[in-house]
């Protein structure tokens, strides 16, 4: 099975410029996540989609970040305008379903390789 595809792998921009990242999840996976991983930290959830609807965007800086998943498959994450502190790896992940019963096994997330953003 093909993995989660992300592009571009690397992007260098100057502050106040804009950037967009693309993600193609595993075929059939209904849930898609965007995580931000700052150097030396664990991944932090930015936004979660169930098909083409937003389930959780509570940690998305909405004044500069936006994301869409129009047809319930591919997704795009945009940053406009970028700040120095946005330098990070942006990870896309997908899973088969949205959630599970408490105490049940994992709804396994499969991560892509990430898009590394450097803001100068």
């Amino acid at each position: 099975e093909a993995g989660v595809a992300q592009s571009p792998r690397y992007k260098i921009i100057e502050k106040r410029q804009s950037v967009a990242f693309w993600c193609n999840p595993i075929s059939g996976h209904a849930t898609l996540y965007w995580y931000q991983q700052i150097l030396g930290q664990g991944p932090k959830l930015l936004i979660q989609f169930q098909n083409n609807g937003v389930v959780d965007d509570s940690q998305l800086p909405k004044d500069r970040f936006s994301a869409e998943r129009l047809k319930g498959v591919d997704s795009t994450l945009k940053i406009q305008p970028a700040k120095l502190e946005d330098s990070a790896v942006y990870l896309c992940a997908s899973s088969l379903r949205r959630g599970v019963e408490p105490g049940a096994g994992a709804n396994v997330l499969t991560f892509g390789a990430g898009s590394r953003l450097t803001v100068l």
Partner: protein, 115 residues
């Protein structure tokens, strides 16, 4: 309360030794505790996971020990090999009232196995 604290930040272990990474949490609503392994240039991948009603889970050379009363859990890698050199993240899962699953990750431990 949603934090997961992980230590150490980095760890160097000799080949064949035991690597131990520790995590602690506060939120008793967390109900599932996975560990992820991340190699340079790759995304994290699920390694092993445990539920809080179990005190230990073993898969090959990897073991999770879970102490519910202390709200701590740890990853033990037995007979550590150079191929185990990677960054390891503990995580904790919270399920919202809407049935939405949310993972909180620790800060990561960079493990280096030396010959």
């Amino acid at each position: 309360q949603q934090q997961v604290k992980q230590s150490p930040q980095s760890l160097i272990v000799q080949k064949g030794g035991i690597s131990i990474i520790n995590c602690a949490y506060e939120n008793t609503a967390f109900d599932y505790f996975p560990w992820y392994q991340q190699f340079p240039g790759k995304g994290p991948a699920l390694l092993i996971a445990i539920r809080p009603d179990v005190s230990e889970k073993k898969e090959g050379r990897f073991t999770i020990s879970f102490n519910k009363s202390a709200k701590q859990f740890s990853l033990h890698i037995m007979d550590s090999q150079p191929g185990d050199s990677a960054t390891y993240f503990c995580a904790a899962r919270f399920i919202s009232n809407f049935g939405n699953e949310k993972l909180t990750f620790g800060t990561g431990t960079r493990l280096t196995i030396i010959p």
